[in-house]
């Protein structure tokens, strides 16, 4: 039953740009943000909320931008680079933040991402300052493409990536380390007594989640063709948490569902309600929190359960 819903969602996303070509960029961005939100959801399993994953999202995006400036033009290599930068930066930052819990964890992440944001904005001779950097259209597997075709191909590449990461993560959550994550949220002290190295479990999860955010950032950089410091701003990080809760943290597809809904609302609202779209977002979130605690994914689950029992 689960796989049917999974497949339905995927197929829906896959067909979206065919019927609405102008939604192509929004859908790719949704997948990119969904990857970052998946990282947030991974940490949320351990009861940790990061208000600073913009750091890794931005780092992935800027890694791609710098690499293309140095002459690297292969999309697959660029995306691997973004993933690698996210993973290693996550390991580095994780050593430091994995000792903290609760609000302090959230705020430390926030502070570190703001350091990165400020550096990106300040060192304009390296990063282009607040104007950002252009990312020229790269080749994909050695094939040069023009902009429109590249956008379309990138979308399906992103979809494949998302599918692969989803499967890997689903697998990871069933390993002992993955199972230990949920136990960290429940009772950390007892887990220590059982001989589980809690801090290392958190570190692994943190690095993975940072890698996901980095990959998302790299994808966003390729899709938009431009990177700006705002990718690392704390409001972007807040967006990821927003998307995660909107979609629901229950399963792997939740964050992507959330990201898709978020990006669609954003695309429409940005066009017609330039000054009130944040208001709309905030209002929607309050409604979701108060009336739909499991997120959009739970809404689908609810329907399914009702359908099977009837």
């Amino acid at each position: 039953m689960r796989w049917v819903a999974w497949g339905g969602v995927l197929l829906g996303i896959a067909l979206l740009p065919l019927f609405f070509p102008w939604l192509g960029l929004a859908s790719t961005l949704a997948l990119a943000k969904g990857l970052a939100a998946l990282g947030i959801a991974l940490l949320l399993r351990a009861g940790l909320v990061s208000f600073g994953h913009g750091l890794f999202y931005g780092a992935g995006a800027y890694a791609v931008a710098f690499a293309t400036r140095e002459g690297l033009r292969e999309g697959a290599v660029l995306l691997s680079l973004a993933l690698g930068v996210g993973l290693s930066l996550g390991l580095l930052v994780g050593f430091f933040v994995s000792r903290y819990r609760g609000i302090f964890f959230a705020m430390l992440n926030l502070a570190l991402s703001m350091v990165f944001y400020a550096l990106l904005a300040k060192f304009y001779y390296l990063t282009g300052g607040t104007d950002g950097m252009r990312v020229p259209t790269p080749t994909l597997l050695g094939i040069p493409l023009e902009r429109t075709a590249f956008g379309e191909v990138l979308f399906y590449l992103a979809l494949g990536l998302v599918l692969a990461t989803g499967l890997v993560l689903d697998r990871f959550l069933r390993t002992p380390v993955g199972k230990a994550l949920a136990a960290v949220a429940t009772n950390e002290v007892r887990l220590e007594y059982l001989g589980v190295p809690v801090q290392r479990v958190v570190l692994v999860a943190y690095s993975l989640s940072a890698g996901l955010a980095g990959l998302g950032g790299g994808l966003a950089a390729l899709a938009v063709g431009h990177v700006v410091p705002e990718l690392a701003y704390w409001v972007t990080s807040g967006e990821f948490v927003y998307i995660t809760i909107l979609g629901g943290v229950g399963g792997v597809p939740g964050p992507f569902l959330g990201a898709l809904a978020y990006e669609l609302v954003r695309t429409f609202a940005f066009k017609y309600l330039a000054y009130t779209w944040q208001l709309l977002l905030g209002g929607t979130m309050l409604l979701v929190i108060f009336f739909l605690p499991g997120g959009l994914w739970a809404l689908l689950g609810e329907r399914r359960r009702r359908a099977t029992s009837a």
């Binding site: 502070a111 570190l112 703001m114 300040k122 927003y242 000054y275 944040q278 979130m285």
Partner: protein, 296 residues
């Protein structure tokens, strides 16, 4: 030069203190880290400028802008504060920390747009209060008297808060709720009312910070988003829920930042966060933070 840098740092720290102490007060009592706190700061600044413009231009009396600043803080704290607490936050109390953070983040988004709807996106600027007081000569360099006044106000608020918490019955009730909510409730304290009062007071302090800062900065969208992360840093340095900690954190950040402006100008924006990270490395709960429930 050094004196000037020192003064700049103290003035900056004073403004930060006003915002951060409200944040820490709200956290101490309600146990919620309010992301929308920066919006109260921005709204305080906007209301102050609009009011100041009315009385300054309409009545032609520049000194009237001072009561306008205070009125702005009182309006935001007294009307918006209770409204937000009653309508939204009270539903957040029984929920997990993640959702509480996200609820205040949603409030931040909503208030940010409300502010754009009410005041538009064009920048505002009103320096009548600044010009009214003129400058004082400090070692051959003119320095705005208004800036010095800001420091006095911050010290006054700090002393006033201490007096309120330790000398009045309201303050003692606040401290009791902070120490043990259930016990306070069992002894007949109306906890909901205490929450309302503490939140409005916190919002009012943020609005006061914004109103007082308004003559010295240009007010445009994004103001609240900037201030809130800085006050997070201040509060984390001092220890969550600590009034004295907020003062200490604000001073530390203010002084370090002005030091950075003189020594390494490109790093001035980064300094507050670096200070925070360093402090938390050494003391994970902040300078004055305690691991136990006793806060404020």
């Amino acid at each position: 030069m050094i004196l000037l840098g020192l003064l700049d740092g103290l003035v900056y720290g004073s403004l930060l203190f006003l915002v951060a102490v409200g944040l820490t007060l709200v956290f101490g009592v309600l146990r919620i880290l309010n992301i929308a706190h920066g919006s109260f700061y921005a709204l305080g600044a906007y209301v102050a400028v609009v009011l100041g413009f009315w009385v300054g231009q309409g009545l032609g009396q520049p000194w009237l802008t001072y009561p306008a600043l205070l009125l702005a803080a009182a309006l935001v704290g007294g009307i918006l504060g209770p409204l937000v607490e009653r309508l939204f936050l009270r539903w957040a109390y029984p929920r997990p920390e993640v959702l509480q953070l996200l609820i205040t983040f949603s409030l931040f988004l909503i208030l940010e747009d409300l502010q754009k709807l009410l005041f538009g996106v064009q920048p505002y600027f009103l320096d009548a209060p600044l010009r009214f007081l003129g400058t004082v000569n400090l070692g051959g360099i003119p320095y705005a008297r208004y800036q010095l006044l800001l420091m006095l106000v911050a010290v006054g608020i700090f002393l006033g808060l201490r007096l309120l918490l330790q000398g009045t019955s309201l303050g003692k009730v606040l401290l009791a709720v902070v120490a043990d909510r259930e016990m306070a409730q069992a002894l007949g304290v109306d906890v909901n009312r205490v929450y309302l009062v503490a939140f409005s007071l916190g919002a009012g302090l943020a609005a006061l910070g914004g109103a007082l800062a308004s003559p010295t900065v240009t007010i445009a969208p994004g103001l609240g988003a900037e201030v809130i992360v800085l006050s997070f840093a201040v509060v984390a340095i001092g220890g969550l829920g600590q009034v004295e900690g907020a003062a200490l954190g604000a001073l530390l950040i203010g002084l370090c930042r002005s030091l950075a402006v003189y020594l390494a100008p490109e790093l001035d924006v980064v300094v507050p966060y670096l200070v925070m990270v360093l402090v938390l490395l050494v003391r994970p709960v902040g300078l004055l933070g305690t691991v136990e429930v006793r806060r404020i």
